[in-house]
Every structure is written in structure tokens, then in C-alpha cells.
């Protein structure tokens, strides 16, 4: 009679059976018991106060050479009615018919400023900011980079004296809306000297003027 027997001589194999049983035991437990929790993630993003302004353009004016009856005043009123700017003689309201607006170059345009990102608004209150400028008047100097008169060169002659501007702001205390925006615009007055020579013709520009918007309400 033959007998068949197996003797477990390898200790590692001998230990295999209990290990497998333990793993099966864990797996069975996971399917039956779960636990969850919800988390919420928060972050805060706030806008920064920013100001953007377009440049002021008084336009390109056609002026005869030589001495005229008086100096010429070009006014860009701050009520935004610049569709029909009438040059006037000196400080009067008499039209200066010798001077006319060029249609070849860009029409006069306000400096248009928009502030965004203010958190100063308070519900139920009229909230406004405060506008200041580094300068509000000055002389214009020759430039070849007047963006409103592309192709027009700087005058070749000696600088034209008394070619001046005065800025006028529609408001220095613009209202801040509930969305944190405020808008204001810049017009002003241009003075063209009484006498021009041919070397005075060309493009002019002021220096850089810094406009500051402060959303602190200052009465």
C-alpha cells in the first residue's frame, strides 16, 4: 500500500496560509464600514485700486502765418460738448474765424480717467474720492510723437513761447460707485500766440502729468 504525504519543510510556506487569511479579513471589513467628511476651501481676492487715463488732445489747428488780431483761445469745456469747439479772439467770446480745426488729424478729446477697485463705497452714503494733478498748466513743447497727429513732425524753429494750456477737471471729487468705480475727465484751455512764423508749425506736447486718485473721502 502506498501512502502519499507532504511534509512542510519550508517555514515560509508554512506561514503563508495565516497571512492570506488576515488580508482577506481586512478586505472584508473595508467594504462594510466607510466614513467621510466634507471640507470647504476658502480664499479671498480683492481688487487693487487702479487708475487709467487717456491723454488730453486739443486737436490740430490751422492758423495763418504772421500776426493776427489777437491770441486765440481754444476751450474744451468740461460738460463734454466738444463737438463744435469755436476758437475765440483773446479772452473774448468773439469767434476767431482765421483759425479752424483740421479734419486731417484726430479731433479734440478729453483726458478720460477711470478708477477701479475701490473698496471705499459704503451703502447708504455718498462716497467720493479726491483727484489731484502734479501740474495743471504749462507750456507745450515740440514733439515728433504726438499720437493724435501721426505723420506731423515737430516744428523746426526755435520754441514757440506762450503756447500754453490750462487743465480743467470735470470734478475733483468723483463719486465712487458700489462696484468700486469712479470716472472723471479732463478738459481745459489752449492759448495760441498772436504771431506765428512758418517754423512754428508742427506737433506739440506737454511733459508727463501725474493724476492721482485717492479714494479717501476728504471734505
Amino acid at each position: 500500500m502506498m501512502k502519499y504525504s507532504v511534509t512542510y519543510k519550508n517555514s515560509a510556506l508554512a506561514a503563508l496560509v495565516p497571512v492570506v487569511l488576515i488580508m482577506m479579513s481586512f478586505s472584508s471589513k473595508a467594504a462594510a464600514e466607510t466614513a467621510t467628511d466634507d471640507v470647504e476651501v476658502y480664499a479671498g481676492l480683492a481688487p487693487i485700486l487702479a487708475l487709467e487715463c487717456t491723454n488730453v488732445n486739443f486737436g490740430a489747428w490751422r492758423v495763418p502765418p504772421g500776426e493776427r488780431a489777437n491770441f486765440t483761445t481754444i476751450s474744451m469745456p468740461t460738460n463734454k460738448s466738444i463737438d463744435n469747439i469755436t476758437p475765440t479772439l483773446g479772452n473774448t467770446s468773439t469767434a476767431d474765424n482765421d483759425v479752424s480745426l483740421s479734419t486731417k488729424y484726430a479731433a479734440p478729446s478729453y483726458g478720460d480717467c477711470t478708477a477701479t477697485g475701490s473698496l471705499a463705497y459704503r451703502d447708504g452714503l455718498v462716497t467720493f474720492g479726491t483727484v489731484t494733478a502734479s501740474v495743471t498748466s504749462g507750456s507745450l513743447i515740440p514733439t515728433s510723437n504726438n499720437p493724435f497727429a501721426v505723420g506731423l513732425n515737430a516744428p523746426t524753429g526755435s520754441p514757440l513761447s506762450n503756447f500754453t494750456y490750462v487743465l480743467e477737471f470735470a470734478t475733483l471729487k468723483p463719486i465712487i460707485s458700489s462696484t468700486g468705480r469712479a470716472n472723471f475727465w479732463i478738459g481745459g484751455t489752449l492759448t495760441i500766440p498772436q504771431e506765428l512764423i512758418s517754423d512754428n508749425y508742427g506737433a506739440y506736447q506737454s511733459g508727463s502729468i501725474t493724476i492721482t486718485f485717492d479714494d479717501a473721502q476728504v471734505d
Partner: protein, 218 residues
């Protein structure tokens, strides 16, 4: 849960910072002021002078013709040349006292038309009721000049009536340069009657007012 709570604390701190900023926030931008000066559209012309001529007292129908044209001096300068044709007998130019012939010279500036655009030229006169002839030869009569431009030369005692006539010639168009400027000349022709009496001598000018107009089409 504790993780979530920690985040809430952080958010509150950020918000506190914003509140503190409100009173102190400013923003700036820079602007500049722009303006340009360009010449007004303008036309300037000098008068046409046929000059002062010596002519004999004569009779007949053989007219004298004086034609102005542009020439060049020996120095290369533009000059006016007056050609005599027809009855040339004893006809001579008196160059003294500003009597030299001069064609009309016109310059314009301040046009805003594109470079190389044609400037249209018109002429009108009240002399014979002509209005706005574009670049055509203008003709009319010469009448006694009480305020002639020749110094010391008075109006004739008796003028030629309709006998002395002028014609002016100029281009129909002329190009506008890149600076909005340009120029053109006015030349002319004068016909002097074949019969001249002493009382006809004196200063003459074209009848009426002659007006030149340039139009750049804008």
C-alpha cells in the same frame, strides 16, 4: 473640521487688511497734453505785369502781341521773357521804373489733401461777367488804370475802349506736395491795337476784379 476652521481664520485676517487699506488707497496714472499747429489754407499770388512799352503813334490794323513766358537767366534764376510778335516796328521795352514784365506767381500752403493730389485751379472775373472758369484761358479788356502800379505813369487821356485785350494762361491743376503746398504760374498775352494816338499812352489794367481760387477737393 479643524482644517476648515483654520482657513476661516486666514480669510478674516485678509479682510481686516482690506478695511485698513481703504482710507489710504491711492492710484495714479500719467497723461500728457497734445496740440498741433498747421498752416491755414492760403493762396498768395503776385500780379501779372505786361511791362511798359515804347510804341509809336501809328494807324492801321496790324496789332502788336506781347506774350509772357517763363525763362531762365544766365545765373539759372527763373525770369519772365516777353516775346513780341505781330507789328514789331518801333516797339521796345522800357525797363526803367519797374517797367519790366513779370508773370504772376502763385503759391499755396495748408492743404490737407494727400500728397500728389491735384489742386484744381479756377479763375473768375467781374470784368466781363465770367465766373469760376476752371483752368481755362481768361480773356478780357484792358482799361485805363487810375491806380496803375507803374510809378509816374498816369492813366491815358483816352483809352482804347475794347481795343486792347489780355489773355491769361494757367494750369487746370497742379500737384500738392507732401507738406500741403504747391505753386503755379500765370502767364499771359496782350494785344495792342494797330492804331495808336498820343492820348492812348498811359497806364492800363485788366477790367474788373480777377479772382483765382484753388480747391483741393476736401
Amino acid at each position: 473640521m479643524s482644517f476648515s476652521k483654520n482657513l476661516i481664520v486666514a480669510t478674516a485676517l485678509i479682510f481686516a487688511c482690506f478695511v485698513q487699506n481703504v482710507a489710504a488707497d491711492t492710484a495714479t496714472d500719467t497723461v500728457n497734453v497734445n496740440a498741433s499747429l498747421i498752416p491755414a489754407f492760403k493762396l498768395t499770388c503776385s500780379n501779372v505785369h505786361f511791362g511798359v512799352w515804347f510804341l509809336p503813334v501809328r494807324s492801321g490794323s496790324d496789332k502788336t502781341f506781347i506774350d509772357l513766358r517763363e525763362g531762365t537767366s544766365l545765373q539759372g534764376q527763373p525770369i519772365t521773357i516777353a516775346d513780341i510778335s505781330g507789328n514789331r516796328r518801333n516797339v521796345a521795352l522800357n525797363t526803367a521804373a519797374g517797367g519790366a514784365p513779370r508773370y504772376g506767381s502763385c503759391v499755396f500752403a495748408g492743404s490737407e489733401a494727400a500728397a500728389s493730389t491735384d489742386m484744381n485751379i479756377f479763375i473768375a472775373t467781374t470784368g466781363e461777367g465770367r465766373t469760376d472758369i476752371r483752368g481755362a484761358l481768361l480773356a478780357g479788356k484792358m482799361v485805363a488804370a487810375e491806380d496803375g502800379e507803374y510809378v509816374g505813369l498816369n492813366a491815358p487821356e483816352v483809352d482804347f475802349g475794347s481795343g486792347m485785350r489780355f489773355g491769361l494762361g494757367f494750369p487746370v491743376t497742379t500737384p500738392i506736395d507732401e507738406n500741403g503746398a504747391g505753386s503755379f504760374k500765370i502767364v499771359g498775352s496782350l494785344s495792342i491795337p494797330g492804331t495808336i494816338v498820343r492820348e492812348n499812352c498811359g497806364a492800363y489794367k485788366a477790367e474788373g476784379v480777377i479772382t483765382l481760387t484753388v480747391d483741393d477737393g476736401i
